[in-house]
């Protein structure tokens, strides 16, 4: 036993507190669990430690801890490592040092966790009073819950006379992505919020998209090399023309004019070759980069579609549209124009530098002198420009968000006569865009001319040094000097365009970052690694101890429910009671935090999501119709459906009657830019959509809430056809909607309060009786 407990100690004792905790433990006292609150009682950040052993709960505080030196002054009974001879009974442990507290397990009743707005607390309750409260931030919620569980087990063990209940293989589900993790962790590694790698590299990540087009890119770069090489020939010929023809001629040598045309022809050929090659390389590389950015757009959108509802809940539409649209466009522009230019520039500089150094080493070195200085300048402005461009981009998204907000809400704006306020709101956002752009331009406008200035100064350096060499030693010919000036003139022009590249890189990096922010987001509902193919399901649903937490808020708490195939269940309860959450969990829009949902006896997390959802049909409160024909909208879940099937589905959904009255029948355009239909009509189309997919599990989420009673009757008829033979979960505020339900499940604050038929529940369930009463009153008022 002692040996064993030693092992457990080493596992269960917190490393940072080990020494201090061990020194306070009785020999053989076994640490069962520990918890580290990260706030002290004044809610200031500060570490603490709560330790649970078989006999007691101890807690330690960092701030009030005695300094290391003072340990010596302690009475001997509290010296570290008490040996067995002076073994203290656990009762003595109640005497404590400052900054430490200890309670015997028998004096404790419960440890109660509470949670509100990112602040958690653990209350230690005695039999008659509250003994202690520990506070922690949101990150420690699951750790606190584990501690509470360990405490309960220890209490049970105490009552059972020592035996700890056998630890059921505690399966922890990562609350963020649903993957299974080992108990000491509270989040899986992938979901643990961490800081990202430095963004300077974010552009390199585009390389992944370039890989598939490597051959084309290689071809493009060999063309670049050739065209740059061709561009280097004319200045060389110029130098040669001066030194070998013009200068000797002027100094009286006999040189015939006949050679001059050959020089000119050589230059001409070089110019043409450079032009042709440049044309080809621009075409090749630009089309490659277009393809790369098209891939990027596709992948971003495809990834976006696979992300969970959670992601869309937190992001604004305008911002997402801007990312897929303008950010990818900016990257494309960067790849096809700026990066291409930059590649050419680098090659040009490398080749020119080599040529110059081959001709005259000291002269080459002097010519290269201003280079590092300009590079340094570019580096300095780089950071500022980068921030500036990200700001303009963010300001732009903010402005678009105003549009996305107010244009769909235009009726509300007009009805409350707030046009001027919205104009003002837009004007202010637009002002932010303007200011952000002006700030960038201030930097930018300073940057470009200073490069030109440095360039000019650079040429002066060569003139000066070259002239000095010509005068002083006469070892440098005028031809070579002119050659250098021509080369450097070209080179410095390149430097100017390179400096533009700095800004473009920053702009593109900011965009890339925004794109990868989407691409890096893992779907919080992951596909299983070893999938079980559901095929066509029976529709038997079992909820086992299902809990769901949204952030730190517990929405659903240990719900147990078994639904037979073909059964219709009505979910009722006040708003916020977790009805929709339960439905979202069954649809697997989110994954359960703990517990499991079994369909036909298999955990739904082992089904591939798409195959599983093919078995589910859903009718929402606000039916969404896409832009397209009615037929396309009905066949949305099964695009291959025949016209016969579509009409049959529409008939069953009682939609056929009004569709035939439309001028274009099933080919009428609906959706945002199409013909307007009434709420009831749209709902019947969405019911037809669900009927056509022939789902085994049907979800009706307030399907009749937003329509008048007459329309509700029509929709009810349509629904009757749909519900027939399918496992149905219906949420409704109007209890009349749930008349045909086999059983009603009453939820309140995430807990199942009662299950039963209407008559039983009116008798037995207070919450249901209240809902029923409210419904009756409402019906009467409408009737009156």
């Amino acid at each position: 036993m002692p040996a064993e407990s030693g092992i457990i100690d080493s596992i269960r004792t917190p490393p940072t507190w080990r020494e201090r905790v061990c020194s306070r433990l009785e020999p053989g006292e076994e640490v069962l669990a520990y918890f580290e609150p990260d706030l002290n009682s004044a809610l200031d950040f500060g570490a603490g430690m709560v330790v649970l052993t078989r006999q007691r709960v101890l807690c330690f505080y960092e701030s009030e801890a005695p300094a290391n030196g003072s340990t010596q002054a302690l009475p001997s009974a509290f010296q570290p490592h008490p040996n067995s001879a002076e073994a203290q009974g656990p009762t003595n442990a109640a005497i404590c040092l400052p900054g430490e507290k200890s309670w015997l397990l028998q004096d404790l009743a419960e440890v109660r966790p509470a949670d509100s707005g990112g602040l958690g607390s653990l209350e230690l309750l005695g039999h008659t009073a509250l003994l202690e409260t520990w506070y922690y931030t949101g990150g420690r919620t699951s750790a606190a819950e584990r501690f509470v569980q360990a405490f309960r087990q220890a209490k049970q063990a105490e009552q059972n006379g020592g035996a700890l209940p056998t630890q059921s293989a505690a399966r922890v589900v990562c609350p963020s992505c649903g993957s299974q993790i080992e108990p000491p962790k509270t989040l899986c590694d992938a979901c643990t919020p961490t800081a990202s790698p430095p963004p300077v590299r974010s552009l390199w990540r585009l390389a992944r998209f370039a890989q598939s087009r490597a051959t084309m890119i290689a071809f493009g770069f060999s063309l670049t090399l050739a065209s740059t090489g061709a561009g280097l020939v004319p200045p060389y010929l110029t130098g040669s023309l001066i030194d070998d023809v013009l200068n000797p001629r002027q100094s009286g040598a006999d040189v015939s004019f006949g050679v001059v045309p050959w020089y000119l022809v050589g230059m001409m050929v070089a110019y043409f070759a450079a032009w042709l090659l440049a044309w080809a390389k621009t075409y090749v590389l630009a089309s490659v980069s277009e393809q790369v950015s098209a891939d990027l757009r596709n992948e971003t959108y495809a990834h976006l579609q696979r992300l969970s509802l959670e992601f869309f809940g937190g992001k604004r539409t305008g911002d997402l549209i801007a990312r897929v649209g303008s950010d990818t466009d900016r990257i494309c522009n960067f790849l096809s124009v700026n990066l291409l230019d930059f590649g050419t520039d680098v090659l040009m500089i490398a080749l020119t530098a080599t040529t110059l150094l081959c001709i005259d080493v000291p002269m080459g070195l002097v010519a290269m002198l201003p280079f590092p200085f300009i590079a340094w300048m570019a580096q300095r402005v780089r950071i500022k420009l980068r921030h500036g461009f990200a700001r303009t981009s963010a300001a732009w998204a903010e402005m678009v968000n105003v549009l996305a907000d107010t244009i769909p809400g235009i009726r509300v704006v007009k009805a409350f006569a707030q046009e001027n306020r919205e104009i003002e709101r837009f004007r202010r956002r637009n002002q932010h865009v303007l200011e952000a752009n002006i700030r960038v331009n201030v930097l930018w406008s300073f940057f470009a001319p200073i490069v030109t200035l440095l360039t000019d100064c650079g040429t002066l350096v060569i003139w000066g040094y070259g002239a000095w060499r010509v005068f002083q030693h006469n070892e440098l010919s005028v031809g070579v000097l002119v050659m250098f000036i021509t080369y450097m003139g070209r080179l410095y022009v390149r430097l100017d365009s390179m400096s533009r590249f700095v800004a473009a890189t920053q702009r593109a990096a900011a965009s890339t970052q925004r794109i990868f922010e989407i691409l890096d987001r893992r779907a919080s509902v992951p596909d299983p690694s070893r999938p079980v193919h559901p095929g066509r399901l029976e529709g038997k649903i079992e909820l086992k101890e299902v809990s769901f937490k949204y952030g730190t808020r517990i929405v659903t708490r240990e719900v147990n429910l078994a639904i037979e195939p073909g059964e219709m269940i009505g979910l009722v309860g006040p708003s916020g009671s977790g009805k929709s959450t339960l439905v979202n969990l069954i649809c697997r829009f989110y994954d359960v935090t703990s517990g499991a949902i079994l369909v036909d006896g298999t955990d739904i997390r082992s089904f591939p999501i798409e195959e599983y959802r093919a078995n589910i049909g859903i009718v929402l409160q606000e039916p969404f119709l896409f832009y397209g024909t009615i037929a396309e909208n009905i066949a949305y879940g099964r695009p291959e459906a025949t016209p016969g099937e579509i009409v049959a589905a529409a008939r069953a959904a009682r939609a056929h009657e009004f569709i035939v009255k439309l001028t274009d029948g099933y080919d009428s355009l609906v959706g945002e830019r199409g013909q307007s239909l009434s709420g009831g009509e749209r709902q019947r189309i969405s019911i037809a959509r669900a009927i056509l997919t022939d789902p085994r599990i049907l979800i009706l989420d307030e399907a009749t809430s937003s329509v008048d009673t007459e329309t509700e009757r029509e929709i009810q008829e349509a629904l009757t056809n749909l519900i027939e033979g399918r496992t149905t979960l219906a949420i409704a505020h109007r209890l009349s909607t749930l008349r045909s339900a086999d059983r009603l499940v009453v939820l309140d604050q995430g807990v199942v309060v009662a299950i039963g038929r209407h008559d039983e529940l009116v008798e037995s369930c207070e919450i249901y009786a209240r809902l029923h009463q409210a419904n009756l009153e409402m019906a009467e008022r409408i009737g009156a």
Partner: protein, 179 residues
Amino acid sequence: MSKPANHSQEKRKTFSPADESRAATSLDFSLLRDEWGQLTFQRSVGETPVPVWGAPLFPISHPDQWIAVCSADGTELACVVDPAQLPSHVWKLLKEDLDRREFVPIIQRIVWVSGNSEPCELKVQTDRGPTTFVLKSEDDIRRIGDHQILIIDAHKTRYFIPDLRNVDAKTRRIVEWYV
């Protein structure tokens, strides 16, 4: 002319926001803290105390005004528009309860940021001591009003900057980069 007050009272059937704000529920109650640390509410002395909690209605714009006193199921028992309306010991208890629940550290200084793309880590100095947290997305830094900033970390803990003009240049630059 004789009784204009009465006259207007009879006529007053329509809703008026100004009147409504004045018509707060009676503030004639007392609060106690029981041995479980629970705040309880009592209208009159013999009455059984009801467990309650304080709910700030405008936690950001008016943190110390407009406090609703709610029972466990969320029913509002009283609404304290202004602490001056309450006896000081009652307000002290209510304030204690609020402080125990409200955890919004005020950022005084951002010391360090791991990088300029999210998710990133921020090391900050707050009124509750130094801490480090992870910022998940740029949307989690929000501007409230003109100069107030609310930051929500990856664990939904909220941090507040009451006035962006009063922090040092580095902090302001980091925050402004988001809003």
